[in-house]
């Protein structure tokens, strides 16, 4: 039945849409593959923009408002482009009682961004996590996928500055 319906074309000619199509196909284009598909888009393109959400909605036959509702319900999904580098400060209990709010404050002072924001030059995004599950190393932050243990605010700022070019982000 579904094969008889006209297929929606991807929003752009970008070859990477194949990855997204594969994810939808794996679930038989069933509406319950929505979250899996959104994951695939975010992994491929970094965030969910309007054309991609429209594409998913029409491919899986899910209402637009539902796609938007799901994308905004889950905090993992980003609706805006992210910076080149990401810094995730863990705000789990163990990290919190060991002073992770000071880490956030240090990044804010140095780079002028709060949680969920990206520097104007798109170099650095600051995010927070509920718990990254590395509680024995508290307080931790995850910088571009690498877990940094037992951080002091100074060490975190230093580590961020050590990433190429982020120094300019401060200006």
């Amino acid at each position: 039945m579904r094969d008889l319906l006209p297929k929606t074309a991807p929003p752009t000619a970008d070859k990477r849409w194949r990855i997204v199509d594969t994810a939808m196909k794996r679930n038989g284009y069933a509406p319950d593959g929505l979250i899996e598909t959104l994951h695939a888009i975010q992994e491929t393109f970094g965030y969910l923009d309007e054309p991609s959400m429209r594409y998913v909605a029409s491919s899986l036959r899910v209402p637009l408002s539902k796609v938007y509702g799901v994308a905004t319900f889950y905090h993992h999904f980003q609706l805006k482009p992210q910076g080149e580098h990401s810094c995730v400060v863990c705000l789990g209990t163990a990290c919190y009682i060991k002073g992770s709010s000071n880490l956030l404050e240090a990044v804010r002072t140095r780079f002028g961004i709060r949680s969920g924001e990206t520097t104007p030059n798109n170099k650095l995004s600051l995010l927070t996590a509920r718990c990254v599950g590395s509680c024995s190393l508290a307080p931790v932050s995850v910088l571009d996928g690498q877990t940094l243990p037992h951080l002091s605010p100074e060490e975190l700022v230093e580590a961020i500055c050590a990433l190429d070019d982020t120094e300019e982000a401060a200006q």
Binding site: I35, K66, G69, F73, T93, A94, R130, S134, S136
Partner: protein, 551 residues
């Protein structure tokens, strides 16, 4: 794969290990990995090659050895020695120790209570097996329980064995697992499902992460046994997106098990078929709630719905669905292998078996521990945990995450089981145990958890959506020194109201951290409100003295 083939694989793998003259096991659990164990493995391999020890030394990457505080850890099987704090530049020292004296590296005393007091059932393989190799799991009796069940037991026998073992849900509430299984087994439906809840969202807990990363096949085996017992042919593992390594390893494990015929159609030549799909969560604590998890697996917003009907009767796509947490499923294989009476022996009268805890916070030996139920908090904190570092004084231990409470010093000698913890206003929860010393302010801790519940509330029901925000606002007033006694009594009213009227467990238990801190540390609240001081010096107390600003 049938039992004979399984045994020959196991024997072959054991031979292989025995043939390795010198086996080095490097811990690659999260703690040690962040402390540089990946680089250490590489260094060990390179140096061994350069020193011509390649044929003798085998470097294997294993799961968590437990004592995260002293990572990276390396276990040398030939000399039966555990080394701690082995930085990557100490690779040569480890290799030196194989032939002569160990110099420049610290030996970790495995006789210390941290190791000696543990009883590892779920974590029995952690630190021993290579998680990406199914043979490694099979060599340690893996999948033996599944094949035994398929060959020798009827589904009803399996349910009876689990019931007899006294196992209770390790996700928090402690619902008897056998009872849940028998409900699903009896339920009528065209299809049935088994779901593994790996949405470990409690801040300060990483037990399930360790099990999924270090011993993924254990979870798969538990699910397959559960599926056989209840009559399901398909299962889902729901894992948090925050655990990329667990996702990767589970994916590998599923495909390896399928290739060996231990998952998929006609397992071990029987008529039993069972396949597993992975579903990745997307950052919503509430999805740990059963009905919300079901909504999420079906691609919807993770909002809970009123129960009944319970998922056991009407879950995924309206079909009977068994939902168990990772640790619960991880206990199944040992129970079948060693027998229900053996498991029922461990622990207390009402809480049987062992429980994995994550010991973190103001404590010397942070890490992952597995202890028999009924052990006292004092033993956990002071013997296993090594007490409070830097001469600090114990103040409270928080269990159960945002749904639990803070337990003060006077209950340190209380046995740890479901009922005792509930009695003192906390819960077992998934196993986070955060120790706090005098530098922690209880109002601040309560406010931290309330902020958590507020932003994790799905927003469906009014008491939780608005109630958590209101309680957070009142706690902020208290923490800034802007509160009146009226605000404090309003807070207490809201606690009981939100608890009684909320739709799901998240809302019903959201007031717990406030209620328990009010119960044991009321004087701290009073100091904030009446004297406008934070005794621990944590809260900002920025409101001007005597001016109750309406924040």
């Amino acid at each position: 794969m049938n039992l004979e083939e399984l045994e020959s694989t196991a024997a072959h793998e054991r031979e292989l290990c025995a043939g390795q003259k010198c086996r080095l096991r490097v811990c690659t659990g999260t703690g040690c990995a962040s402390a540089g164990s990946d680089r250490l493995t590489q260094a060990l391999r390179e140096r061994a090659k350069e020193r011509g020890m390649e044929g003798e030394v085998t470097v294997t990457e294993v799961g968590c050895l437990g004592l995260c505080a002293e990572g990276p850890l390396v276990k040398v099987d030939a000399t039966d020695t555990l080394y701690q704090n082995v930085a990557p530049n100490l690779a040569d020292n480890v290799l030196d120790s194989l032939t002569g004296e160990a110099a420049g590296i610290t030996i970790c005393n495995e006789k210390q209570p941290f190791f000696a007091r543990q009883n590892r059932v779920v974590l029995e393989n952690a630190g021993h097996i290579e998680s990406d190799r199914i043979e490694s799991y099979i060599a340690r009796d893996g999948y033996r329980a599944l094949l035994h069940v398929l060959a020798e037991m009827s589904p009803a026998d399996v349910v009876a064995a689990i019931t007899q073992s006294g196992l209770r849900g390790r996700g928090g509430a402690g619902y008897p697992t056998g009872l849940k299984w028998s409900t699903v087994a009896k339920a009528n439906g065209p299809r049935k499902f088994v779901v593994c809840n790996g949405d470990e969202g409690d801040p300060g807990a990483f037990m399930d992460r360790s099990v999924m990363e270090d011993d993924p096949h254990r979870v798969l085996e538990g699910m397959a046994i559960a599926a056989y017992a209840v009559g399901a042919s398909h299962g889902y593992i729901y894992v948090r997106a925050e655990y990329p390594r667990a996702i990767k390893r589970l994916k590998t494990a599923i495909s390896r098990a399928e290739r060996q015929g231990l998952l998929g159609s006609s397992i071990a030549g029987t008529s039993f078929s069972f396949s597993i799909d992975l579903r990745v969560g997307a950052g919503a604590f509430v999805c740990g709630e059963e009905t919300a998890l079901i909504a999420s697996v079906q691609g919807n917003r993770g909002t809970p719905r009123p129960r009944p009907p319970y998922p056991a009767m009407s879950g995924l796509w309206g079909c009977p669905t068994l939902i168990n947490n990772v640790e619960t499923l991880g206990s199944i294989a040992p129970i079948i292998r060693c027998g229900a009476p053996w498991y029922a022996e461990i622990g207390t009268e009402k809480s049987h078996g062992t429980k994995v805890f994550c010991l973190t916070g103001a404590i010397k030996n942070t890490g992952l521990i597995e202890v028999p139920m009924g052990i006292t908090l004092r033993e956990i904190v002071f013997d296993i945990g090594g007490g409070i570092p830097n001469g600090g004084k114990f103040k409270a231990v928080q269990t159960g995450g945002p749904s639990g409470g803070c337990i003060p010093e006077q209950y340190l000698d209380m046995p740890v089981d479901y009922e005792s913890l509930r009695e003192v206003g906390s819960i077992m929860g998934s196993g986070g145990m955060i120790v706090m010393d005098e530098t922690s302010c209880m109002v601040d801790v309560a406010r931290f958890f309330m902020e958590f519940c507020m932003s994790e509330s799905c927003g469906k029901c009014i008491p939780c959506r608005v109630g958590t925000a209101e309680m957070y606002k009142l706690l902020t007033r208290i923490a800034t020194g802007a509160a009146t006694m009226n605000d404090l009594s309003k807070l207490e009213e809201l606690c009981s109201m939100v608890r009684e009227t909320s739709l799901c467990g998240l809302g019903q238990s959201a007031p717990n951290p406030v209620v328990s801190t009010l119960r044991y540390f009321r004087d701290e609240y009073l100091a904030h409100v009446q004297e406008r001081v934070c005794p621990a010096g944590v809260c900002p107390m920025t409101a001007r003295k005597g001016v109750a600003t309406h924040a």
